[in-house]
């Protein structure tokens, strides 16, 4: 996966928001990653330690909140987690679905010190 590019972008966003509040340093980052966003936590952490060095985010802790995939069947209304090789609704067999959660890929919040 492309965790290097993701981590660079993450650092840029965090520093921009921290500086807008005149923060002295960033201590924590809260990430939301859907199961279908295919990001590997360990890999982001690895790049983070290298990239954040020398910035106001150095040593900040990354918190990953994983969101499982949840589909909503448009036929019967049931919410369900798809199996690995069967995406259709287990209740009615419907294939017209909407992805309710699992797509997330954003930075929710940061903790800073003034």
């Amino acid at each position: 996966m492309h965790e290097l590019a993701v981590t660079e972008s993450l650092l840029e966003i965090a520093i921009r928001h921290a500086q807008a509040q005149n923060a002295r340093c960033i201590t924590d980052l809260y990430l939301v990653l859907g199961q279908w966003s295919s990001i590997v936590d360990d890999s982001v952490q690895f790049y983070w330690d290298i990239l954040s060095d020398g910035t106001i985010a150095k040593g900040a802790t990354l918190h990953f909140r994983r969101v499982p995939v949840l589909l909503t069947c448009q036929n019967c209304g049931k919410d369900y987690q798809p199996a690995s090789q069967e995406f259709a609704c287990p209740n009615c067999g419907g294939t017209h679905v909407q992805v309710k959660t699992g797509d997330e890929f954003h930075l929710e919040a940061i903790d800073v010190e003034e």
């Binding site: 492309h2 590019a5 966003i13 690995s84 090789q85 954003h106 940061i110």
Partner: protein, 223 residues
């Protein structure tokens, strides 16, 4: 005292902004652009070759090719009659909007009707990086196996067209077309699909008609 700052920003928002700028450049030049993605060996370059040859004299086609190294693919497109620009990503597993932006400055958009961007062969990363194209095309192929929509839902969800290449190999390879298509149907209902073989030429006409139709429709809107 630490203070919590709400951010709620997409992690690739910077790339998204640049992609939007790229699209504005395509729009201003009235050039239709597609992002072609696939696993390595699915037949992206073969499809581009066939497309360029078939539409010669009808559409002026430019091609941006992303590859980790070498310019074999750009050379093939150029030989077929396209104006080609090579981007060597130097190890990156995908193209991003910045790379496309720099490639655009090497293309004379005013002399083109269609730009095909051939992404790096990969079913994971390219799905997340918008480039600024108008449509995304996924080239799947029979020997890859019929479970790919289930293994790479992100890729199959995000595209406008699925081309199923190498159908001439169907008699020789176990491939359950109904299982494959059922996965696509859930992930991307109603997505345009073309079954074809770049080698035999079977089914190519449907794809070409779709592509030409898209370019015409786009030019009508942008007039």
């Amino acid at each position: 005292m630490p203070q919590r700052i709400p951010v709620v920003e997409k992690i690739l928002s910077a790339n998204d902004r640049l992609a939007f700028e790229n699209q504005s450049r395509f729009d201003a030049a009235k050039v239709f652009a597609i992002n072609m993605m696939a696993s390595p060996g699915a037949g992206k370059t073969s499809l581009i070759e066939q497309t360029v040859k078939a539409l010669e004299g009808r559409l002026r086609i430019g091609m941006i090719n992303g590859d980790i190294a070498t310019s074999f693919d750009a050379d093939r497109a150029q030989a077929a009659g396209a104006t080609a620009v090579q981007i060597n990503t130097g190890g990156d597993c995908h193209l991003d909007a910045v790379m496309v932006q720099s490639a655009l400055s090497q293309l004379d958009l005013g002399a083109l009707d269609l730009v095909i961007i051939e992404n790096v062969g990969n079913l994971v990363c390219p799905a997340d990086f918008k480039l600024g194209t108008h449509k995304s095309v996924l080239v799947a192929s029979i020997p890859e196996g019929d479970d790919k929509p289930y293994k790479y839902p992100g890729m199959y969800r995000g595209v406008n067209v699925v081309v199923i290449n190498k159908i001439d190999l169907l008699p020789y390879v176990p491939f359950r077309m109904d299982f494959f298509k059922k996965g696509i149907e859930v992930l991307n209902p109603g997505v345009a699909q073309f079954e074809l073989s770049c080698r035999s030429g079977e089914g190519l006409s449907g794809w070409l008609a779709w592509l030409e139709g898209q370019v015409k429709e786009f030019r009508k809107i942008k007039k």
